[in-house]
Amino acid sequence: MKRFLSQLTFWKTLAGVILLAGAYSTIVRFFGGLGAATNLSDEFPWGLWIGFDVLCGVGLAAGGFTLAGIVYIFNVKRFEPIIRPTILTAFLGYVLVMFALMFDLGRPLQFWHAIIMWNPQSVMFEVAWCVMLYTSVLALEFSPVVLEKFHMEKTKKFVKKITMPLIIVGVLLSTLHQSSLGSLYLIVPDKLYALWYTPYLPVFFYVSAIGVGCAMIIFESFLSSRAFNRGLELDLLTEIARVAVMVLGVLMVMKVVDLADRHALPLLFKPRTETYFYWLEMIVGIIVPFVLLAQRRVRENQTGLFWCAAMMIMGFVLNRLNISITGMEGWAGKAYFPSWMEIMVTISIVTAGFIVFALAAKYLPLFEHEKPHVRVKPEAEWIEDLRSVSQLN
């Protein structure tokens, strides 16, 4: 008991309290229905669980396909040291999204209907398929780590062989469903406030997912370097930040051009709640990090990098919540704020993600990446040669 208490840190206690509240909310949700646990209504059928758990969850897991693309397709092998933890976060992200969806679906036990009852006209159908397939792809991409742990060399070799097709399929699936989450809202031209509704929603969702993917890689690297007392690959993160700046720049230009195209620029100065939230999202998520990260000084500075990444993530979350909640409230004619149970379920799911990641970091060869084989091997052989030569002398 004493030992148990001494190991009980502040964070562990907090996690315990959160999970307890989450468990209570789960019971209320599944035994009392959505109405008992949430503030959802006929006027406002999608709330925090869609806006955050799904839209943000999938987006924040975008680091997986972004880095996989950089390392394997663009063949920038320097980034290999951070690929394993990134793929794991992406995989966990998707598993948690599906888990969260079980709370939100009215008939969760029938979710498999999407596999056999097709409606190719539906964006939701496409998203469902892509998410299921991509989660499987991520599981395979991550499997070598587990196989390595259990010394299953043969299977590992096989997975390695199919790595390239897997990566390509993964990037394609991500492209499809990251953008499709935006397409979900194409069907509500009258409901979604004009600052956010644009035919380019899918493009914006895709580009911003790549941006936040970069931010997440930086953010996670910082967290895990602190949590597991390991070194930080600052030079690598600086380069990821360079990609992020480009993405932010592109996003900013596209947003302005799009607003101008739709003659929606005056909306930026209309004194309305939507306007303030839009500016907040733009300033926190795009403008400030763009200006800061554009400077080499900031990119090469640990604190600067960390806070820029954090801001990009906050801006991204704001953007998705604005589209799913702020931008929809006006038309619905009803305000929505999540119930404490909705919030607790969401926080519990995030907490569960942290716990599983910590366990994986403890028991799996997550950071002991294989040595880059391109250059090191010949050099090592060379040294061997030299040694044998000197021994001869």
């Binding site: 006929d42 999407a114 006209q121 069907i187 391109v374």
Partner: protein, 258 residues
């Protein structure tokens, strides 16, 4: 071919007796009791605006948004006009509620096995040649059931006969591609809680435009990614090869000296 059925609701004629709601509840086995808004137990309800009564119900769109967004195809548009919901397919994602331009579908929020609830346009009755229960119950003829083409003609005639009385617009003729429920009124629609700014084209093409690009994204994107990989990979291979050759030269030199 089956003729498309419709209902014409003449707001000027409605006296607010609520017999449409009563008949609807009896026919569809819904919990009795007068209700002022659509709910999981109310397929149609009367809203009052200064003595003017407006009947709310599913519009049964010609190209229904709910049917297009449902991931499992739980909604079907029947040839006669009704848009029907199959609860056995439904997974409860509520995209239909989110997407419906008329905010019609209701949910059984307090149920642990909830259904979407909305007007069924008395599909069973109209395939038997009967009128929908509400139209039959309407004593004053404010709700009239018939073929859509003919009701549109009749609505236009009524407006033409009394242009000073009626607003010159048939709501439902063009909204989101047209609906099976048509309204005419003497009080402007925007004052009666109607969404008057809806686009005239149907909504499903909005998402289909994006979805139809999926095959090209997969093929073009796939070949592009493969191409980039091939080039970058080839580059490292060449580098690797050159490096090894240099090593071998160095190695042979070293051996030669000894």
């Amino acid at each position: 071919m089956t003729k498309k059925k419709a209902m014409l609701i003449d707001i000027t004629m409605c006296i607010g007796c609520n017999s449409c709601q009563e008949a609807c509840k009896t026919t569809n086995n819904l919990a009795a009791g007068e209700e002022k808004a659509l709910s999981a137990t109310t397929y149609t309800a009367l809203n009052e605006y200064d003595g003017v009564f407006v009947r709310r119900m599913c519009q049964h769109c010609i190209d229904p948004t709910c049917a297009s967004v449902c991931p499992v195809g739980a909604f079907t548009k029947t040839p006669e006009g009704p848009v029907l919901y199959d609860e056995d397919k439904c997974i409860g994602c509520r995209y239909c509620m989110q997407a419906c331009p008329f905010q019609v579908p209701r949910y059984e929020w307090s149920s642990t096995y909830p259904r979407i609830q909305k007007c069924v346009f008395c599909h069973e009755r109209i395939t038997k040649g009967l009128q929908p229960a509400c139209a039959e119950a309407c004593q004053v003829g404010a709700t009239k059931f018939g073929d859509r083409d003919e009701l549109l003609k009749e609505a236009a005639e009524r407006i033409k006969a009394e242009p000073s009385k009626y607003v010159n617009r048939i709501y439902g003729q063009q909204e989101v591609g047209g609906t099976s429920i048509l309204y005419i009124t003497s009080v402007p629609f925007e004052k009666l809680g109607f969404k008057t700014e809806l686009q005239t084209a149907a909504l499903p093409p909005l998402t289909w435009n994006a979805l139809s690009k999926v095959p090209s994204i997969v093929t073009v994107g796939g070949s592009l990614l493969y191409g980039i990989w091939w080039i970058t990979n080839r580059r490292t291979e060449v580098q690797h090869h050159e490096l090894r050759q240099r090593e071998m030269e160095k190695g042979s030199n070293g051996n030669g000296n000894h």
